[in-house]
Symmetry: C2
Subunit: 337 residues, 2 copies
Amino acid sequence: MKKVTINSVASHAGVSKKTVSRVLNNEPNVSASTREKVLNTFKELNYSPSPIARGLAQNRSFIIGCIYDNPSKSYITRVQTGALAACQENNYNLLIHPCELRGEALIENIQQLFQTSRPDGIVLTPPFSDFAEVVEFLKSKNIPYARVASATLKDDSITVRSNDEQGAFEITQHLIELGHKQIAFIKGHPDHSATAQRFKGYLRALAQNNIEFKDELVEEGNFSYHSGVDSARSILDLSPRPTAVFASNDYMAAAVLKLASQRKLNVPDDISIAGFDNAPIARHIWPGLTTIAQPVEEMTKQAVTQLISHISQPQEEPYQLTLEAELITRESTAKIN
Amino acid sequence: MKKVTINSVASHAGVSKKTVSRVLNNEPNVSASTREKVLNTFKELNYSPSPIARGLAQNRSFIIGCIYDNPSKSYITRVQTGALAACQENNYNLLIHPCELRGEALIENIQQLFQTSRPDGIVLTPPFSDFAEVVEFLKSKNIPYARVASATLKDDSITVRSNDEQGAFEITQHLIELGHKQIAFIKGHPDHSATAQRFKGYLRALAQNNIEFKDELVEEGNFSYHSGVDSARSILDLSPRPTAVFASNDYMAAAVLKLASQRKLNVPDDISIAGFDNAPIARHIWPGLTTIAQPVEEMTKQAVTQLISHISQPQEEPYQLTLEAELITRESTAKIN
DNA sequence: TTTAATTATGACACCGGTGTCATAATGTTT
DNA sequence: AAACATTATGACACCGGTGTCATAATTAAA
C-alpha cells in the first residue's frame, strides 16, 4: 500500500492541491462538478489526509489532554470513555495524563506536557478542575480548557458538572425516610469540590427533617478504600452506634461494609450503608450498595465536545451545564427495626 | 510566550538549523564546542522541538496505539500505566483504543485507526494479542506491534507474558494443601489464551496430587462478574457441594462470594474461594480473596519499550519474555474442616 | 610540506498539508 | 455589448523539522 498524498489526489483528479484542500475542509468557492470529481478520487484512491501535515500547517496537534488523579479506576475509565467519544466524533486524539503531583511540581508537569505533546486543549477532571493554580496557569498561557465536575471556582470557562449536592440530599433523605436519625457521614478528599457539595446535601436533608446535626457522626475520609476502613472503625466504635452510614463514595462505603461484616454485623438489618458514584463494586459486593449514579461519561463527553468546538471557534458565552444524578437503591439500606 | 523554533535557536547560536538538528538527535560529527553552544541556547530560549514537524519530516507520529477490551477497569488502568511509562521515557504518546468489535468489523476499525491517527506501532492486549486475524493484518501492513499476555500464537513478534499456567497451578496447589479435594473451577472467556492456561495449571495440580478431575466441577465463565454469578449458582447447587472454588479471575470469584453470602454460607469455613489477578476488589471485599498477582504494568511497559526500540531499529531476535506471577493468600481460603 | 582521509558545517529540497494572493471563468448590471 | 461583481482555481510560500550532498576545516599519512 503506497502512500496516497494530496498530490496524488490532485494530479489524479486534474486539479491543484489547493482545490483538493478546499474540498477536504468544506470550503466554499468550489464548483459542484469539481467537488464531486475530487470526492470520487478520495474514494478511488482511498485517501485520508495526514493529521500531522495538517497540524504542522495549522499549528495544531488535534490532541486533547486529559488530566486526572483519581483512586477509582472505574471513574477514570468512564471519564476516558466520554472523552474518547467526543474526540472520535471530531477527529481528535485523546492523550491521557494521570498525575499525582501537586503545587509547584504539578504546574511544571503540565508545562512539560505542553512542550512535548502540544495538546490543543485540556480537560481537567477532579480534583484538578478545582485547582485555581492550574486554571490560572492555563488561562495565562492561553490554553483552552474545560472543567469536569467542578462545583467551586466560578470562572468563565467551559464547565460540566453533576448535581452532587442534590444527590447527597436524596440519599440522606432516603435514609431518613427509612427511619434513620443517627446517620454517620464520611467525607471525601478535601481537594475535591464534590466533598463539600456532598456534605452540604447531607446537612440540608438533616435540616429539612429537623434532625440535629452531630459532629461526632462525621469522619474525614479521602475517597480511598483505606481511608474508609479508618473512618468505619471510628464510626462502628461509637456508642450508641449509628443506624446508618453514608459514605461519600462507594469505595469507602465498601470499607464500612467490610468492617461491619468482620464484626459480624448484619447489613442492612443492624446497620444501613450508602455510597456514592455507583462504581462497579457497588453491585459486586453483598449486599449491593445503595448509591448515587452520575452521568460521568456524558459529563466528560459534553465538556470535551464543547472544548473542541471552542478551539476551532472561540465562543462568547461560557458553556456551563449541570446534569442530574440518580438514586439507586440496593440491598444495603433498609427500614430501621 | 512566543514560539521558539529551530530557526530561532540556529540564528541565536550562530549555526545552521541542520547543525541544531544534529545536536537534537545526538548525531555524530558535531564539534564539542558547537554542541555545547547549541545546548546552552536550548536552555536559554527554553526550546523544545515540535514533534509534529519532526513527525512530518520523518514520516512518524510518535504515537503508540493500545488496543484493549477487558471488563476489568483495574486491568485496563494497569495496562495504561505500564504503556504510559514506556511512552514517556521515549517521548512517545499513547493512544488508547478500547474496542469491542470482532471479526471483519474489528479489522476495519483498526484500519481506520491507522488512517486517522497513524500510530507508529500497536500494543495488543488480551484478547486481541491472541487474534490471528489481527496479527496477520498488522503483519501484512508491515505495522510494528507487540503482544501482551498472549500464550498461544507463537510468532516472531515481541511478546511479553506472565506465567498463567504456573499461577493457576500454585493457587490450586495451595487449596489442595489446605485439604481440599473437591475444587470447582470457573473458566474465563474463551477468546483469552489465559483461560486455557489457567485451566491447564488447575489440571496439572490435580494430576500431580492424584486428585481425580471431575467435569461437573468446571463451569464456563467469561471473566465478567455477571458470568460469575451464573457459574456460582451451578456450583453451589452441586451436591455434594465442592469445598473450594477457584475462579479464573477476581470478579467471578467475587460473584461466588456474593452468592455464597446470600446463601448464608460462611467463607472460608464452609467454602474456600480463590480468584486470579489481584484486582482491587480482591481486597475490598470481606473476606479478602486469595488470588494471583501478575506484573501487568511491568509486562506492558516491557512490551512497549521493546516495541519502540524495534520501531527505530528493527531487531533480528524476537523479544519474548515471561514474567512470574505471585500467590497472594488472604482470608477467603482456609483449611478444610 | 603536500596530499589524502576524516570531521564539521551549511545550502537546499522535501515531508503533506494550508494561507495568501493573483488571475481566470462566470454571472450580473447598465 | 461593455463594465463590473462574484465565483472558481491555481501558483507559491510556508509550517518546523530532517535527509542529501557539497564544501570547508581539521587531522593523519606520505
